[in-house]
């Protein structure tokens, strides 16, 4: 009962946020929309017993990533309304058609109950509780390699950011050499 209410509310706000992201003519608005959907998703995670994930969602996404977005938006100063009129001929129509087809297809699948799957956990199986301890155990045993790789990934990101964003100066430097 409660879950249903939460699902409906949060689901709607998630989608609403998403729609804002897509349609808002001002990037900042989009960011805000995104914030909305992120947070609502976090709530949904909680409902699904993914506590840590929910937390991380709020901290990392809403905290770090989105801030980064906003920072860049401000930095390059496009925080003004852009015209969203389509310039590529027929583009919107095609996209809309595409979206409709997918939606319809999904609807049909859902309606015919095809969008479900076999391995539903029998009642006996305890619904996994995404506590820090549980997840940590997973992350550092089975998934240790993944964890390592994430480190590498972040390194790459950092290196990339440096390499790409510094190139003005160093580009000149190399030109002077």
């Amino acid at each position: 009962m409660v879950e249903l209410a939460i699902f409906v509310l949060m689901g709607l706000s998630t989608l609403a946020g998403g729609v804002t992201v897509v349609l808002a003519r001002n990037p900042v608005r989009s960011a805000m929309g995104m914030l909305a959907s992120l947070v609502s998703l976090a709530v949904i995670y909680v409902v699904n017993l993914a506590h840590l994930v929910a937390a991380v969602q709020v901290v990392v996404y809403a905290g770090a990533v989105l801030t980064l977005f906003l920072f860049v938006i401000m930095f390059i100063g496009v925080d003004r309304a852009e015209d969203t009129s389509e310039t590529i001929p027929q583009h919107r129509k095609l996209v809309a058609g595409l979206a409709l087809v997918v939606a319809a297809g999904a609807a049909v699948l859902v309606w015919r109950g095809r969008f479900s799957w076999t391995p539903t956990a029998p009642e006996s199986v305890p619904i996994p509780n995404g506590t820090v301890q549980a997840l940590g155990g997973e992350l550092f045993t089975t998934w240790v390699l993944g964890t390592e790789v994430t480190a590498v990934l972040l390194t790459i990101a950092a290196v990339g950011a440096i390499a790409l964003a510094f190139h003005r100066r160093s580009g000149k430097a190399s030109a002077e050499k």
Binding site: W117, T141, T142, L145, A163, H167, S174
Partner: protein, 484 residues
């Protein structure tokens, strides 16, 4: 599986990649500590890769990859993975040794560039080795993101930026598609491990496999994007054209190796029991890629776009081998190996001619190349003839293997399409050869290139020709790599 203590993890199985990563990091540190000359960095990077290769060979020969699951079942170190590793490393070595000019051009960012190359190689090897969808995704991203950066790294030119952004944006979408597919499969089967998935799907009869099917579809699309198979290839020509010449060959080659290795794993281990469902799709993609690639390549005036489209066509040939199931795997490996080498060689020539950081190389610049530098002309034309599949080059052996497999698996129509497409494709390679040999050069000044480049080109050419006549060693190699 599921070791409780980090201690008893089989690190050895991953030695080459660890070397690469460690090497990359140490390169960066070295760069930060005391700025060494490009030569030092380049040389040490090369050294690192050679060591990695040595370890990889050691893996192959001594440790004999028996296909055990390691790292909590994340990786499946089987011959295929080991072979992919060898190919990736060889390609990287060839590319880097020919690409010194590029890193010299990068100046202070040489270290970053080299590090990224090392990391990308490691990433794609991981991708090829992993049998867990999420792990695969991580490897994929580790490689791809590095490539995105490399595409835009010179940053002196609108086109490279554009290339980088295109690659990144579309790549991100494709990755999202891929991982969404993984999520759906996970939903459908309750597992992320391909082996388990395969066992599950083999065991159960899903009454409503829609979720799994869509998952398969999404994963296939995601990977087809990475290997630039039609109709998911649109990014390739632009990126190949815009990215710095010195790195394009590497980008294209490793991405294809990793992508196809992953594709093979997913389809043949994970979804073997759904073969009836995906095989026709793959075959269709293959046919479309071969035809579209050939046709588009014919009309492109920029040699890089031309090679990009031909790459699309080659993706089609490889998919043909894939469509013919696990028996076709060895031919796929052979094809990948030889094509990767040809690709790198061709782009090395391009980067020598257009300058390592250049974006775009008009075919007109190649007029009379033979007169300006016979060595480059021969190297380029040999790899082109190889791609065209002229006998006595590895290209022909590769095509033959693929076709044989496909025909044996009852894909006659696909083979016919393939041979016709290759006949058409010959024309575009001839176009280049015509310009190289039969037109008078724009300038007569000879082309300068350093010794390593000539070594790498020489190696690649020899590889293409010698293995084209006596492919036996490589054939027996892929023979074992072909077993799942």
């Amino acid at each position: 599986m599921n070791p409780d203590v980090v201690g008893d993890i089989a690190w050895a199985g991953l030695a080459p990649e660890l070397i690469l990563v460690a090497g990359a990091v140490s390169l960066l540190l070295l760069d930060v500590q005391r700025k060494p000359g490009v030569g030092v960095l380049w040389g040490s990077a090369l050294g690192i890769m050679v060591v990695a290769l040595a370890l990889g060979i050691w893996q192959w020969v001594v440790a004999e990859p028996s296909g055990e699951l390691v790292f909590g079942g994340m990786l499946l170190l089987d011959p295929a993975a080991a072979f992919a590793r060898l190919v990736v490393l060889v390609v990287s070595i060839l590319a880097v040794s020919a690409g010194r000019g590029l890193f010299a051009h990068l100046g202070t960012r040489a270290a970053e560039g080299l590090a990224l190359v090392l990391l990308a190689s490691a990433g794609f090897v991981l991708m090829a080795a992993s049998q867990n969808l999420v792990m695969m995704f991580l490897g994929l991203e580790m490689g791809s993101i590095s490539l995105y950066i490399l595409a835009g790294i010179t940053g002196d030119g609108v086109r490279s930026d554009e290339a980088a952004l295109k690659y990144l944006l579309l790549g991100a979408v494709a990755s999202a598609v891929f991982i969404y597919g993984a999520a759906l499969v996970f939903a459908g089967t309750g597992s992320l491990s391909l082996v388990a998935i395969g066992a599950f799907l083999g065991g159960y009869l899903l009454l409503s496999p829609a979720v799994v099917l869509i998952g398969i579809g999404l994963i296939t699309v995601g990977l087809c994007f990475k290997v630039a198979a039609a109709p998911f290839h649109v990014w390739a020509p632009d990126v190949y054209q815009g990215a710095p010449a010195g790195i394009v060959g590497y980008m294209a080659a490793v991405a294809k190796v990793g992508g196809f290795a992953a594709l093979a794993r997913v389809l043949l281990i994970g979804f073997e029991s759904f073969r009836a469902d995906w095989a026709p799709v793959v075959a269709a993609i293959a046919a479309l890629s071969m035809l579209l690639g050939a046709v588009m390549a014919i009309i492109s005036a920029d040699i890089r776009r031309l090679l990009a489209y031909s790459g699309v066509a080659h993706a089609g040939y490889i998919l043909t081998g894939l469509a013919s199931g696990s028996s076709g795997l060895s031919s796929v490996w052979f094809y990948l190996a030889v094509y990767a080498v040809q690709l790198v060689a061709a782009f090395s020539v391009i980067s020598v001619l257009g300058g390592p950081a250049s974006s775009g190389s008009d075919l007109a610049e190649y007029r009379g190349l033979y007169r300006r530098s016979p060595m480059l002309a021969v190297a380029l034309s040999v790899s082109l003839l190889g791609m065209a599949g002229i006998p006595l080059t590895t290209g022909f052996v590769a095509k033959l293997g693929v076709f044989l497999q496909a025909w044996q698996q009852g894909l006659e129509w696909l083979v016919v399409v393939a041979v016709l497409a290759s006949a058409v494709a010959i024309y575009l390679y001839l176009r280049v050869i015509v310009t190289i040999y039969m037109q008078s050069p724009v300038t007569d000044d000879p082309v300068a290139y350093d010794r390593p480049t000539s070594w790498s080109l020489g190696l690649a050419t020899a590889f293409t020709l010698i293995l084209g006549v006596f492919p036996q060693p490589l054939l027996s190699l892929v023979e074992s790599a072909g077993q799942l």
